[in-house]
Symmetry: C2
Subunit: 227 residues, 2 copies
């Protein structure tokens, strides 16, 4: 008879369970968890800097910042909200144990919104639940409008799409309608925002959306399309 060999087949399930428990805990304490994913350089850090200006007067914010190496993004964000760098040491995405470990180091333990800025990667982070309530994918106008169909899992698993760098539209070949149609073909429920962090365009609408979700979370009425 062949021996039965256990090869950690439950590791993925264990991570999913830990993520679900983290989300439940954040729900209980009234913290909305927002996981930002995108290609490198799509503007996650700049979006957070602008969002903090608008939200921080009425909301306690905090951010966990994922990168393979360096503290560059956490240093940028620490000027606007409590920030902790999560350095993966080369790994291509964040996982829930790193998020849990980073969270306990934050000086703000009961934020209204906990942002997680994922590693810049349009593929691998799609497969990892970080205990977020909301997954938000960013697409910059400089990347081209064909990305949703080419990277479908990231769009399929996201709740909102933020088009960034809209101020560069006059200078780049980017078909906004195609991008939106391509994204909705993959995920019809995607909420879409058009923004420019340098010009401030669209930031208010995005922040208003977060404000509403915060209220809905605290009153136990988070919409069903948000996990």
């Amino acid at each position: 008879m062949s021996p039965v060999v256990s090869v950690n087949s439950d590791l993925r399930q264990e991570l999913k369970d830990r993520a679900a428990r983290f989300r439940d805990r954040m729900t209980s304490q009234g913290t909305l968890v927002v996981n930002l994913v995108s290609s490198p350089g799509a503007g996650k850090t700049s979006l957070l800097q602008q969002s903090a200006k608008e939200l921080s007067s009425n909301h306690r914010l905090a951010v966990l910042v994922g990168d393979l190496a360096t503290n560059r993004d956490a240093e940028r964000l620490a000027q606007t909200m409590p920030a902790e760098q999560l350095t993966t040491g080369g790994a291509c995405h964040l996982e829930i144990p790193l998020v849990e470990a980073g969270f306990v180091r934050l000086s703000e333990q009961t934020p209204d919104i906990l942002f997680i800025e994922n590693v810049g990667n349009l593929v691998c982070p799609a497969s990892h639940d970080l205990g977020e309530h909301l997954r938000v994918v960013l697409l910059s106008t400089t990347e081209g409008e064909d990305k949703p169909g080419k990277y479908p899992k990231m769009y399929r698993t996201s709740d909102a799409l933020i088009l960034t760098k809209m101020d560069l539209l006059p200078y780049v070949p980017f078909d906004v309608e195609f991008a939106i149609a391509d994204a909705h073909a993959v995920q019809p429920q995607l909420k879409i925002f058009q923004t420019s962090a340098t010009k401030g365009e669209g930031i208010s609408q995005w922040c208003e959306y977060l404000r509403q979700l915060c209220q809905q979370l605290k009153s136990g009425n988070l919409p069903s399309h948000v996990r």
Copy 2:
């Protein structure tokens, strides 16, 4: 006594060996293999379209195009050279078996240059040898100058860096000198090109570099910094 269980521990070494054999075979037949890597939307396809215009009069070209889904890039490139799409079905990088399988489908079996356009991902493709002679990383000016330090393995394993979308410099905050210094801090031997596919800037220098490498390959004198 515990049973000894083989868990494919040699799989990575087997892939490395296959990549080395593919490279040797391409060297023997005088084909320079160029692996292009970058974030999604940095301009790999556009660079290849412009390069083909300049190189195709004197060089036989072919391209293998990696994507998670869709044939969009192969369709764009098929207008300029024999092109085969490699669809990973969701995987975040190409591996040598997919390259081998794609190569035999190409209508051009003895190109002077075989381009491999990798999946848009600044992390995972760094760890996979595709049998290339030259690994080229692209960084678009719209991504920000801080990427080399944040994604060091990709830069450390590359032979050349192409700055793309230089025509957008007037509209984006991008410090060219910082980007070059940051890249050279990671990999001092990186050959650097500054290009704009839409304006044609820098394409000649890049193509001249490829022409020289083609000659050196055929005469058995490929420089030592190129693998």
